[in-house]
Symmetry: C2
Subunit: 272 residues, 2 copies
């Protein structure tokens, strides 16, 4: 999916919501365990219930990998089930030397046909660029994450620059706003204006709204750009809204609450 | 496997060689394509030919992931085939927020029963510690990698410290030399003495000898400690030494060349 198609989808659905598919066999409703593939059945019902309210789905790859071969089968079925006009993110945090990153790119862009993948920047240019060589595919590079451990290295300071700023600045020479997004956690909304100085046109994938405590309106105030430029992720808050046979309906209600808030924000910022 | 068992293995085999299992369907000998699972058949023959000469095997997870479900089946068979007294490394470069790293740990330490996993440090403490909670399992944290892109961020300098030094220093508060190793590329042998100041007792996993140009004797000169403290990885140089029906024998010859050099170095440093 290219940038224009993503923006169109945001305007049509009046939403910039990404639903995180972190399906955990220990957390999904018990009645699903009777199905042959409970994880896929869970995702299928969540997708059916939310696909008109969100513009992206983000399977968290760890949750599939944890079950070995069976988990990868559930992931394959899930990605095949997501409607083709919805943006897909492999939340995989991959990154390795060039010939290995190329294999990861092949895994997620060809074998699974994801639109994008999250990538960790530690190993530098040749660990990132192999992902950028695929047409209409995206790298979503970790910049400033939403977890506590983000403080350990991402704020490491050279005097005039912090590491996450260097990552944003340097990586823009490798890609552009048509194939490169950044992960910026919602837990530090005040950082968004500094990040927008460095990356005015790139989309930002924003985890940490909801369960992790970030505020949607604050993120928009500092982080929205002329194209919206934000994909706000919610995982647990939506997919585990219910725990019985009506779980999908409850997840729809949660997604709708966020979508309505997003529609108001999009109007407020004159984007629709 | 615990540290003592690893050291004993090094002394018995007079080797600190790790063989990287980066099996690529486009590079393995053509006659293997007739087997039901060519990747596993290739690994099986490499393992049979080298298991008395090396102390560790390191499947590069990207090479399995690239083939989706089928690749994970090959990985499962490979890890099950490696003799239990040989150290196993999932070269996966994982790392995510706490609850997600926990799932990755479960994937590699429980579902696949690897002894260790390579982890990327960018997301900090809570992305690393979930891996450290498993008994007799190891984190191998990226510090200074062997690729060109290592220059981009790993040398980012706060004035009195570079990022890779901060990673080594800080992470030692999370783990110890019984559960934490570091990746240090052989392409910068002169850096090993500085790294040994920060991490005198930790094992170092050293890629980049051979195909990437690093020198074994130089690495030992600066990097060896009282326990040996090094696992030297060679992937392409060993597994693709031959490309016909005698490929396994040729890989054995390459592994033996390195093992003999290692035996001399171990004697020279009075470790055997």
């Amino acid at each position: 999916m290219n940038k224009k198609e993503l923006i169109n989808q945001i305007k049509e659905k009046k939403s910039f919501l990404c639903v995180g598919l972190d399906a955990d066999i220990n957390k999904i409703p018990k009645h699903l365990l009777e199905f042959e593939d409970p994880i896929f059945e869970f995702n299928k019902q969540i997708i059916d219930a939310t696909k008109d309210l969100c513009v992206a789905y983000k399977p968290n790859i760890a949750f599939y990998e944890a079950y070995g071969v069976k988990g990868w089968e559930s992931l394959q079925k899930t990605i095949d089930y997501i409607p083709k006009n919805i943006f897909t993110i492999a939340d995989a945090k991959r990154g390795d030397i060039g010939n290995t990153s190329k294999m990861y790119a092949q895994a997620f862009f060809e074998t699974f046909n994801f639109d994008s993948i999250t990538v960790a920047p530690y190993m530098g240019e040749d660990s990132v660029t192999p992902f950028l060589e695929f047409k209409n595919k995206w790298v979503i590079l970790l910049a400033l994450t939403s977890n506590k451990g983000a403080d350990d290295f991402q704020f490491f300071n050279s005097g005039d620059q912090r590491l996450f700023e260097k990552v944003i600045q340097k990586s823009q020479k490798w890609g552009n706003d048509e194939n490169l997004m950044f992960v910026v956690g919602a837990t530090r909304p005040e950082m968004f204006s500094e990040i927008r100085d460095l990356a005015p046109d790139n989309f930002l994938l924003v985890p940490g709204v909801g369960a992790q405590g970030g505020e949607l309106s604050e993120v928009c105030k500092y982080g929205m750009n002329k194209d919206c430029g934000l994909l706000i992720n919610s995982s647990r808050g939506i997919i585990y809204a219910g725990n019985d046979e009506s779980f999908a309906e409850k997840s729809r209600n949660e997604a709708m609450k966020i979508q309505k808030e997003m529609a108001i924000l999009l109007e407020q910022f004159k984007l629709i």
